[in-house]
Symmetry: C2
């Protein structure tokens, strides 16, 4: 029998207990062993008496409990969770966590500390077994690229905006439906997706980066003009987490992205998640499913427990043994190379286009397509560019914004092809 | 070091050798051990001298070689492969195979024989790690349903027919492009997909069925009228392998299927494969990627070798230990329940619709939607039905075909919703 202690009995914790019980027989058959939750740790002692497991308010009753084999951490957040997981690993417990924030900041310290199995399938894309796909299913491949729709809130909002609905209206509805928090910044600002991207990138490239090191932009500035442009040129707008390998350098970035409608990942609608991975041997594979919710997340947590019960042994992050030949470094956000879409509102004057085109050319930016939309009293100029360097685009935008016929601010979206 | 012998050095075998060499460092880092091919077995001794490995024409030089840890079987076909894999297992070798036909017929005998690891990721959906997803990623779930686009040839032909192109014309082109064999029956008749479906179903349900036991229909009778109907009612036509659980009974079937355009799996175009799995805990997840090709298949074969090198231990088919409470039985093809689309060509006479509707009602079939298309000299009646039983539909069709105003044969497509 494998004995489990769960720290944190919120939506996910409860769902783990419930589904371990509900599917007890089949999980035992698949794992080869019975799996039993013998202790839960909670903050408020009176709240969880409906769960039929012994409870405690002290995490050490789990992390230092000689009877317990696997510690499941489900409290979320960074500091306290780090304390708990570190304590569990020091006491030679196997650990399962769903905590993306913990891993975004401390995954390399935890990897160092872990002499026992450490699993975290639920930390990225909820119920989709994408961690296992990357670590096990694609182990023959150099990973060339990862593109993920890994924040359901953003994908829901962008999907609804395609119907012609306004950002603020949709956000409000998402909050009412429980898809978005009262303070939505963590989701719509791209930070949640960044945490998950860092985890995926560490598996693929063994690269140590913090959220602060990478480019993160949210969907707050997307408006209906952008949606209209996207339609006109055959794109969808998605918030993507992107990891790309260029020689031994890695690009990591989270931002709204224009992707061609033929791409499978552009067809993912609503709150669903998907991660597309390009490997040098297999080509593109994609993993699709629910990225959040108690049951979906519990499915991933339990699959980790089963893996540990089976005695399976996988590297926690990139490699089981150090890869000497290939030490990847992070590309600075300013040096990212992408195609761009620019939305520039200008007063309807003579010579406007010429001046803007001149500044773009001066900054090594060449135009791929151009659309001009008249509006009440002003004109919208919509450009897409060929590949350009991030810092050149930023400099060009700054220069153009100084022109007196330009109505600030200029908005831009990166294009992925 | 893990020592590998490969039996069969065709497209996939060569790609395995090539990619193990090309990605040697990263595979070693991920596996925790070096992986080396020390022997290849071929039929014609002079054909493969460009591969830098010792060759033999006797498979026993691999299956009974005391130096070899893992035997990789890539010759395809049933009888000879069964002999080879059995011999390897009897000599306590771990086995990796990409051979779906072998597994469709002998997977339960091989499971019984296997006291060593037995992996077969490449046997279903090429490079997509869907076997691992089912066995490991979704281990917390009762699998309620599997729907797979698991034959690229059929999906390519159906995708092209959507552009208004004729079946025969597209098939010819597919043959020229190498997507379809000179005798295409195995692909377009649904048999290849059936082999793969049986493998997936054994993992999900531990159910022992042979291709002969299940309903298999190909895409040969799909025509442009059906494509037109599908468009009109918001469907795509896909050849699906379907496994469904109804209490402790399992439906297994392969046939062209009308699926709603909103379903993610209906958006899979061209030669690509995808498998959608519905679990009782996680809901729907889907796995997408290349279903064939030397490199894609090699990616899966190598990932299996890595799993074995890591010492991971997973049940070969359904369960590591027998699941006493749940013994699944196969539903007979005649008792399958589905919605149906019927295409009936009739002479333009009075009372035709009434007579057909009467026969449908007599057989417990109720009409959901109806479309009438005039053609030169005759009329096409297109029905979709509510859920009905397979044998009732067959009986109704037989009865309707006897009416003298009906131009035979009547065609039907099952609808999945």
């Amino acid at each position: 029998m494998v004995k489990v202690g769960i720290i944190g009995l919120g939506t996910v914790g409860e769902a783990v207990v419930k589904n371990l019980e509900k599917n007890r027989e089949i999980i035992k058959a698949r794992a080869g062993k019975e799996i039993k939750v013998i202790k839960g740790v909670i903050r408020e002692p009176n709240k969880y008496t409906h769960l039929n497991i012994p409870l405690s308010t002290d995490y050490k009753d789990v992390t230092r409990n000689p009877e317990i084999d696997i510690v499941v951490e489900l409290i979320g957040g960074v500091d306290k969770a780090f304390e708990i997981v570190s304590d569990a690993l020091k006491h030679k417990k196997a650990v399962v966590t769903a905590n993306k924030a913990l891993l975004a900041y401390h995954r390399f310290e935890l990897q160092k500390l872990a002499s026992t199995p450490f699993e975290y399938e639920a930390s990225v894309a909820g119920g989709i077994p994408v961690i296992k796909a990357l670590r096990d299913g694609l182990s023959a491949n150099h990973i060339l690229e990862i593109k993920g729709i890994i924040n359901g809130t953003c994908n829901y909002i962008l999907s609804e905006m395609k119907k012609g609905r306004d950002y603020k209206e949709v956000l409000k509805e998402a909050q009412e439906k429980g898809y978005a928090e009262a303070d939505p910044t963590f989701d719509v600002g791209g930070f949640d997706a960044a945490h998950k991207l860092l985890i995926l990138a560490s598996i693929a490239y063994n690269i140590d980066a913090k959220p602060e090191d990478i480019l993160i932009e949210g969907i707050e500035n997307i408006n209906l003009t952008d949606i209209e442009f996207a339609k006109e040129f055959g794109y969808e707008i998605k918030l993507l987490g992107i990891a790309k390998k260029r020689d031994s350098e890695i690009e990591l970035r989270v931002h709204p992205t224009l992707i061609k409608q033929q791409e499978m990942i552009s067809k993912v609608e609503g709150v669903m998640n998907a991660v597309s991975v390009i490997g040098d041997v297999v080509g593109e594979t994609m993993y699709y499913g629910p990225g959040a919710g108690g049951d979906a997340t519990a499915s991933a947590v339990i699959s980790d427990i089963v893996e540990i019960a089976r005695g399976n042994s996988n590297p926690m992050l990139g490699f089981k043994i150090p890869l000497e030949i290939e030490k990847c470094t992070l590309i600075k956000p300013d040096n990212i190379v992408s195609k761009y879409y620019l939305r520039i509102a200008v007063k309807d004057e003579l010579g406007v286009l010429e001046k803007i085109a001149h500044i773009l050319a001066q900054n090594n930016i060449s135009i791929e397509s151009f659309l001009q939309k008249p509006r009440d009293g002003y004109v919208k100029l919509l450009f897409s560019t060929h590949k350009a360097v991030e810092k050149d685009i930023k400099k060009a935008i700054k220069t153009i914004e100084k022109l007196n016929f330009v109505i600030k601010p200029i908005n831009y979206i990166r294009i992925e092809e």
